[in-house]
Amino acid sequence: MSAHDHVEGQLPHEPEKATLEARNKILGFWLFLGAEVVLFGTLFAAFLALRHNIGDGPSASELFQLPMVFAATMILLTSSLTSVFAVQAMHQHNKKSMLTWLIITIILGLGFLGLEIYEFTEYVHEGHGFTTSAFSSSFYTLVGFHGAHVAFGVLWIALVIGQVFKKGFNVVTAPKVYISAIYWHFIDVVWVFIFTVVYLMGKVAG
């Protein structure tokens, strides 16, 4: 413990950018995010092109429940705030507070996932299966891909927390916290477009 305290006492102001390796990791991660933008772009393009092809299945406005979408949006938005608090605690070299915010972020992420699983089950019961129509296939692919990203983010942050516990809070683990927080914000940014384009525009189109 005292050894850790010693290391923490010597942490630089921005421990996530202290080494060249860490700065390269962050740059590399941004390049990855550029590719993620393109990935979600293709899914959005497919969804936008096919969203009116409902075949015999239910339409978007029959299916979507705005209160549930709003709840999911609030959960994810709040989790984005808690993950930025974790980065802030990291900048203040406050390991305990950082880990607490990361754990809250994970719990909110799990809440979002639970809501999404419940939502998809409801839709399937209402006759909106994956192969019902071009609309349903592109909907599940787009929203499901985002859900998979949330699940991956939860797993990732959990592993980062485990590493901080095991290896301590230092210039090697700090960039991992920072990058996983950026990833989490990116998931929230994609969700902004999903609730706008998929749910709200789906409701408007009638």
Binding site: W30, L33, V38, G41, A45, L77, L81, H185, V192, V197
Partner: protein, 107 residues
């Protein structure tokens, strides 16, 4: 007494590095919240004409994403030229793809 001491210490730190407070993140959160509520309200009200609703929705989403990227993804901080170029390139590709897909399927 101890709070005075802490105050002096934090001032000393802020002289060396600009220590960020939680305020700007809370401001970002409240702005995002407001933009989200406006978007949901515009649809829930259902009284506004369809084209105008679309314009509101897209505007709210774009503003919210810019706020979140600037504040929460630290893109307004120094040394983020490459991330900005990368994301703009990604957005350019996305817009091209969406137009292409709509054109391909519908016209």
């Amino acid at each position: 007494m101890s709070s005075n001491h802490n105050h002096a210490a934090s001032r000393e730190v802020s002289k060396r590095h600009k220590v960020e407070g939680p305020q700007k993140h809370i401001v970002g959160f409240i702005l995002s919240l407001a933009l989200t509520i406006i978007a949901f309200a515009a649809v829930a009200a259902g009284e506004i004409n369809e084209t105008f609703t679309y314009i509101i929705l897209v505007a709210m989403a774009v503003v919210q994403v810019i706020i979140q990227m600037a504040f929460w993804m630290h893109m307004k901080d120094r040394g983020h030229l490459f991330p900005i170029i990368g994301i703009i390139a990604g957005v350019f590709v996305v817009i091209t793809m969406v137009i292409m897909a709509l054109y391909w399927v519908w016209w």
